[in-house]
């Protein structure tokens, strides 16, 4: 218990250092924050602006789409803040320069140090925007207010954080071997985020099934959303599949950390 408290203190202290360093160049920080906010805002605005002309997207209303879109964006950006240290470009910079070795030399758990090595506060405005989109969805989608809805939506967000965090950890671990294949992970991370931002029945059957059974992305938010909106699940899946769906996230994350341990054992440094 004391150990956990010690590690938590250490993590918070490392974060404090990160936050102070990011506050050093205030103008740059504010511009970065607003710039990344504007990218998300533009993407969403493009969809929201054309929806009235079409009256919906494959039978989904703006409110229902906002629910999926907002939750996916909220989870992804929170994950990006938490797991930023594992993001392949950040980690591969440490691996290539050899500064990853300094993590190994410090008397603190390695994973904790990587977690605290990149904590991008500039993404906070995006969190607020995503929450606003999801909030609009909550108000305008026909959801039954109640503890079950709240619990399932919270689980969906946590599940997505774990899932995409797991993909970041896998992508980061791959940089111990190669820098090239990391591009392929972008299809899964950024592509996966975009994919589950929309109702998955708009995709062709093979694409939807690939991201349901091979890569369990559909279980995280799409199936729970279908359940909460009172829509039938695809492929005749039973109702409880939607309730336990978000668990796919922690499972992926656990697998990712097992792979991470293999990668760290493989790491030999750059020899400098």
């Amino acid at each position: 218990m004391a150990d956990v408290r010690h590690h938590l203190t250490l993590y918070l202290r490392l974060l404090g250092a990160q936050i102070r360093s990011q506050g050093a160049h205030r103008t740059s920080f504010i511009l970065d924050a607003l710039g990344s906010l504007l990218i998300t805002a533009a993407e969403f605005a493009a969809l929201a602006l054309v929806l009235p002309r079409f009256g919906g997207l494959g039978g989904w209303t703006l409110g229902e789409i906002c629910l999926l879109y907002g939750l996916a964006e909220l989870a992804f950006v929170l994950m990006d803040i938490l797991f930023g240290g594992f993001d392949a470009p950040n980690l591969s910079a440490h691996v290539r320069s050899g500064s990853f070795s300094t993590f190994l030399l410090r008397p603190a758990p390695l994973t904790l140090q990587v977690f605290a090595s990149d904590f991008a506060l500039r993404r906070i405005p995006r969190v607020l925007l995503a929450a606003a989109i999801a909030g609009y969805g909550l108000l305008h989608a026909p959801l039954a207010a109640g503890p079950e809805t709240a619990a399932l939506l919270t689980a969906a967000v946590l599940g997505m954080i774990c899932f995409f965090g797991g993909l970041f950890v896998i992508g980061g671990t791959l940089t111990f071997w190669t820098v090239d294949s990391v591009e392929a992970m972008n299809v899964l991370t950024y592509g996966g985020r975009t994919l589950i931002s929309y109702p998955m029945d708009i995709y062709s059957a093979w694409l939807r099934r690939t991201f349901t059974y091979l890569i369990p992305a559909a279980f995280l938010s799409y199936l729970p959303a279908l359940h909460l909106l009172g829509r039938p699940l695809p492929d005749g899946l039973p109702g409880w599949a939607a309730l336990i769906g978000p668990l796919a996230g922690p499972l992926v994350l656990a697998g990712a950390f097992a792979f991470w341990r293999v990668g760290v054992r493989h790491y030999q440094g750059t020899g400098t």
Binding site: I30, D32, A46, L57, E183, S204
Partner: protein, 281 residues
């Protein structure tokens, strides 16, 4: 740094030899794009995947409607293929090269060259854009043709207009990117400013959605910006949403924005170079 470098002062500088330098620069810019074929392949795969998602969203929007705002579903697929194909050639996700050169002070080396700074960068970017069009654009169109089938311009006149429009869209886009990059003369935080600009570009040029789908008021605002000239005009000419006399008017608008942005670039560059101070060493 107050003066622009003098042009080469050989006795007989023929028109041909004045073009020799930009030509060589463009060729090198072209060839440089082929240095990392593997990265290009992965980029192509990522672009294709996002293309797949964008087609699904657009087709779901159409539902059973045969036509919306002049676009048929097949036009919407063609739109997606074209916009995905031009991402790299038109640097739609951002371009910070000139900014970096200013911040590092390497711009002084560019100023020593016997060519105008803007012309040098334009030649380099033209080569880069063509290289990316060959490497990433044409394969993207081929993939779309194989999977969904594309609509192609109907005849020689339409093709000529499309080619002209692509050239003007590149010129307009390059000058806009160069102008944004000039912010680095004034601010060390120009990268953040650039991100702003690219986000506006994505929405305004019709990369995120065809501009024809947007509400009337928003389109009217965009019509006063150069953004549609940087991509949307080309797409509308290609799929035939703009045709006949409107096509020439659209090309004229593109040309007008190109000239306006060229003047803006020259004025800004002159002011920027007057401010420029580079530490020696």
């Amino acid at each position: 740094m107050t003066t622009m470098p003098a042009p080469p002062t050989g006795g007989h500088v023929s028109r041909l030899s004045r073009l020799a330098l930009p030509w060589a620069v463009a060729r090198l810019g072209f060839r440089r794009q082929f240095a990392y074929p593997q990265a290009a392949l992965w980029g192509l795969i990522t672009n294709s995947f996002f293309g797949l998602l964008r087609v699904a969203v657009l087709l779901a929007l159409f539902g059973t409607r045969p036509q919306v705002a002049g676009y048929t579903p097949q036009d919407a697929i063609t739109y997606t293929g074209l916009t995905q194909a031009f991402i790299m050639a038109f640097s739609l996700f951002g371009w910070f090269d000139f900014m970096r050169v200013i911040h590092r002070g390497e711009v002084t080396a560019d100023l020593l060259r016997p060519a105008s700074l803007l012309g040098f960068w334009a030649a380099q970017d033209a080569g880069r854009a063509l290289g990316q069009l060959v490497l990433r654009g044409l394969p993207m169109l081929l993939i779309f043709q194989v999977i969904w089938g594309l609509n192609w311009p109907p005849g020689p006149l339409a093709w000529a207009q499309v080619v002209l429009s692509v050239l003007l869209a590149w010129a307009c886009g390059f000058l806009f990117r160069f102008l944004v990059n000039c912010a680095a003369f004034w601010s060390p935080d120009a990268v953040g400013f650039g991100r702003f600009a690219w986000a506006l570009l994505g929405l305004g040029c019709g990369f995120l959605m065809p501009l024809a789908f947007f509400p009337e008021g928003f389109r009217a605002v965009l019509a006063w910006t150069p953004f549609p000239a940087m991509l949307n005009t080309t797409v509308e000419l290609w799929v035939g949403v703009t045709g006949g006399g409107a096509a020439w008017a659209a090309l004229g608008t593109q040309l007008g924005w190109t000239v306006a942005l060229l003047l803006a670039c020259q004025v800004t560059l002159r002011a920027g170079l007057r401010r420029l101070e580079v530490a020696g060493g």
